[in-house]
């Protein structure tokens, strides 16, 4: 086997989005040697695309807000199967993490009295999202990146990890290849943090980039860690649908936060007719009250467009199915209507939603200050991920940590908008801190040369296999995306998911046989073959977990089990690789919430 380059780090962080960067900054602040690896260039991770904002109970706009309200909103949004401890930590620590960004140079939009401005978002009782127009993710990743590059972190850009190494039970490093030359790098580490983001490329219509192939999920699974909540995929209600080539690109919830309304082809605000019971008390009675809420009237309740994403997405699907959709199979999202209410509406929209304005103008030839947009649901976020301890973010494999979108627990059955960016910061910081502590406490590890060789051989195998005329790696990926979209999508049933599993099985076999053309230098065809293995693993985990959960809750809606079940509210579904390599599904009971937290939830109504 050819030689590889070796890198020694105390803590290795895989992923340079918000979570990975925050973890790296924290770990390196303890004086340890930290390596940071990412598939793309620095600053290009998914976090850069986030638009709407970061949720934190700063109470700058509404002084009634505090961590308790944020905690209870998060639990309600997650249908109470979230890890309550994580939700508590998150709500408590998010304000400090946001202020810290300001100390590192972030420039958030301001309130009139010179503080960080906060905006309304779905499922948040008060205006809570710190933001910069609709490019909050850019502000966040750039701040972390610019701060991080002066901390002495070793950054490995365009390097993809394909395998995690173990020393007995404990994690000891990773095997990766560099995209530029296709050469191997082996990382020795005392602790490893996964921060690889999501799995959205498993679906056809998605707001996610090529990077979102569930690598971290699959790496952890293959290393013996448990995954949890994999049945919960967030379909964001508003993705672009026209023209076809932009299908899936996100339209931020910020549009609705600024007063945008959803209409069917009869011009009706259909969400008013469809408000779930447990949100009735918090939702506006009519359009007039909804608008007052947008303007900041503290006595008004939020408009139904700001109900949680799972619900809004399903209502949109229903409108379309029942023939009240827009010409290209979506519904209308109208922000231009606020002209009736605001003198300077056009300028206001351009200032608060500049990239949405630009995106529609450029890609759809549509002026959102004048016309309604056409939108429909798009795959957006995975609530499920690596099972970790709430306080430390360590997985079931000693020394392996996970945070950000590839970690799980905080969101339960549905994530509230804005809670991801804050979770990246809060739990990323903790993952970095505890990974550093673990590395210091536990000391050196060994790596196994044979394990390394095997990983390298597997990564190179596609070059020895033929590339079929029909059915190359890209086409297998499309087939998988179609199957997941059609059979394990927003509306699910058991029989279809069984079919999806059969299909996944077939595609796995095809994927084992498919080869790559060309050489090892920057070869996306080869990379796609390797990513495919991960996508298939996570797709299977999603389908199996969804089949296991025989109820409808949050992001999972099953026509064969349309009701929420009290019994299922007591469990999370976990996924583990069995000794024979097959995927095993289990349930773990949800720990009982302490009385004081239960009390908070009751109080908040």
């Amino acid at each position: 086997m050819e030689a590889h380059e070796i890198f020694e780090h105390d803590v290795l962080i895989i992923g340079a989005g918000g979570a990975g960067l925050r973890a790296a900054i924290e770990a390196s602040s303890t004086g340890l040697k930290v390596g940071l690896v990412c598939k793309s260039m620095l600053g290009k991770a998914h976090t850069v695309m986030a638009e709407g904002g970061i949720a934190a109970a700063l109470a700058n706009v509404d002084e009634r807000d505090n961590w308790k309200v944020h905690f209870s909103d998060t639990m309600r949004g997650g249908h109470y199967i979230n890890n309550w401890r994580m939700a508590q930590i998150h709500a408590k620590e998010a304000p400090d993490r946001v202020r810290e960004l300001e100390a590192w140079g972030a420039v958030f939009d301001r309130t009139k009295d010179g503080r960080i401005l906060q905006r309304n978002f779905g499922g948040h009782k008060y205006p809570r999202l710190a933001h910069v127009g609709d490019r909050t993710g850019l502000e966040m990743i750039r701040t972390l990146q610019d701060h991080g590059i002066h901390q002495g972190i070793d950054v490995h850009m365009e390097v993809t990890v394909v395998h995690l190494l173990k020393d007995g039970d404990r994690i000891s490093g990773a095997v990766a290849y560099d995209r530029e030359r296709g050469r191997f790098r082996v990382f020795h580490a005392k602790a490893v943090v996964l921060a690889t983001g999501g799995i959205g490329r498993a679906f056809r219509i998605t707001s996610n980039s090529w990077e979102y192939t569930g690598d971290g999920h699959a790496l952890a699974y293959n290393a013996g860690a448990d995954l949890i909540d994999m049945e919960f995929i967030q379909f964001h209600p508003t993705g672009m649908i026209w023209p076809p080539s932009v299908r899936g690109i996100l339209v931020t919830e910020g549009v609705r936060g600024e007063g945008g309304i959803l209409l069917n082809n009869k011009g009706e605000r259909f969400l008013f007719g469809n408000i779930p019971d447990n949100y009735k008390a918090q939702t506006a009675a009519d359009a007039e009250e909804g608008w007052r809420y947008v303007l900041g009237d503290k006595d008004a309740h939020r408009p139904p467009e700001l109900l949680t994403r799972d619900h809004v997405a399903r209502c949109i699907v229903q409108e379309i199915k029942e023939g009240r959709g827009s010409p290209h199979g979506g519904v209308f999202l109208d922000i231009a209507w606020i002209k009736e209410k605001l003198g300077n509406a056009e300028e206001h929209i351009k200032r608060k939603l500049p990239s949405m304005y630009h995106q529609f103008k450029q890609l759809a030839g549509l002026d959102i200050t004048r016309e309604p947009m056409e939108v429909g649901p798009t795959t957006h976020y995975v609530m499920g991920g690596v099972l970790v301890e709430a306080d430390t973010q360590m997985s079931t494999v000693p020394g392996l940590f996970a945070c950000g979108e590839c970690g799980a627990g905080i969101n339960g059955a549905n994530r509230l908008g804005g809670n991801s960016l804050s979770d990246l910061l809060v739990l990323g910081q903790r993952a970095g801190q505890y990974a550093a502590k673990f590395a210091k406490d536990k000391g050196d590890t060994r790596v196994d040369e044979e394990e390394i060789d095997a990983a390298k051989r597997e990564a190179l195998a596609p070059f020895d296999r033929p590339v079929p005329d029909a059915g190359n790696a890209y086409q297998i990926q499309y087939e998988l995306q179609d199957a997941m979209q059609d059979l394990v999508g927003i509306v699910r049933n058991g029989e279809e998911m069984e079919r999806a599993l059969v299909k996944i099985g077939e595609l796995k076999e095809k994927a084992q046989k498919v080869g790559a053309v060309g050489n090892r230098e920057y070869n996306p065809g080869w990379h796609t073959v390797l990513d495919l293995g991960n996508l298939l693993t996570v797709s299977e985990a999603v389908a199996r977990s969804a089949l296991e959960r025989k109820e409808s809750r949050g992001a999972q809606f099953r026509v064969d089990y349309p009701e929420k079940s009290e019994e299922w509210g007591k469990y999370n579904v976990t996924v583990r690789r069995g000794p024979d390599g097959s995927m095993q599904i289990n349930r773990i009971p949800i720990l009982e919430m302490p009385a004081e937290l239960r009390e908070i939830i009751t109080q908040m109504g």
Binding site: V48, H150, V246, E521, P524
Partner: protein
């Protein structure tokens, strides 16, 4: 649906040439869609960078019919399709493969700039008080998605390759964001004048013309920075004044 011809530069640091492909194009498609389609159909190993497909990450910079563009924001129906569409890598930086270039120099240039250094917090909770009008300008600069299209067209880099002397327009935009940040207390003027070479910019404004984020690079960032440097180093009254005020 119609077939459109594309000429895409294929090769590596040793050399390469335009290769012809043809693929179905439909309403609303952008250049990046066509590249992806060609990659999936007939050139599996065609190298290109992208992430967001919505003009937000600055990964997909290329020269489309000779114009520096983000491929994901360039619609095919804006281009004359009859003659075919030519797609080449950006020219200023070393080629890695096909449409992918080695842009790492830009990261090193940025690292030379002294980081943000805020004044002590104004409030007990560690926060500061400042107003929207104090940051409108800074927010313009912070829109930068680091696509490096401006670096690509700046003749100081593209023709004269003064990479060791001049950090280029995008890094100047970043410097301006720091210098005009209401909380920042760092002094970067000496670096700007010497190590970072602001004097090499002769205000041709080519950078501003290609910026996909419509940042007014020259007028709003570079010229005010130049003025600050001039005030400090070339204006004796200003120099004495700044010495006096700094001491007090």
């Amino acid at each position: 649906m119609a077939k459109t011809k594309f000429k895409i530069w294929r090769g590596n640091e040793k050399g390469g040439e335009l290769e012809e492909y043809s693929t179905e194009t439909s309403e609303g498609m952008v250049v990046l869609d066509a590249v992806h389609q060609i990659q999936a159909e007939s050139a599996n190993d065609l190298a290109c960078r992208w992430n967001c497909k919505a003009g937000k990450c600055g990964s997909c910079s290329a020269e489309v019919n000779g114009m520096p563009k983000l491929m994901c924001m360039t619609r095919l129906d804006e281009l004359p399709l009859e003659e075919g569409v030519t797609i080449e890598p950006i020219k200023t930086f070393p080629i890695i493969k096909d449409l992918v270039t080695d842009i790492s120099w830009n990261y090193r240039a940025k690292q030379k700039i002294k980081p943000f250094k805020p004044r002590p917090p104004d409030n007990e909770d560690g926060s500061w008080t400042f107003y929207q009008e104090d940051i409108d300008r800074v927010q313009e600069f912070r829109k930068c998605i680091e696509c490096f299209l401006c670096q690509n067209v700046c003749h100081v880099l593209r023709e004269h390759h003064l990479e060791d002397e001049f950090i280029g327009p995008s890094a100047l935009v970043y410097t301006a964001a720091l210098e005009m940040h209401p909380l920042d207390t760092e002094d970067r003027l000496e670096d700007l004048k010497n190590a970072n070479g602001i004097g090499y910019c002769n205000i041709t404004k080519c950078c501003t013309q290609v910026c996909p984020e419509h940042i007014t690079i020259t007028d709003n960032a570079i010229i005010p920075l130049k003025e600050r440097v001039v005030d400090r180093y070339y204006d004796p009254v200003a120099r004495i004044w700044s010495k006096l005020t700094r001491r007090s």
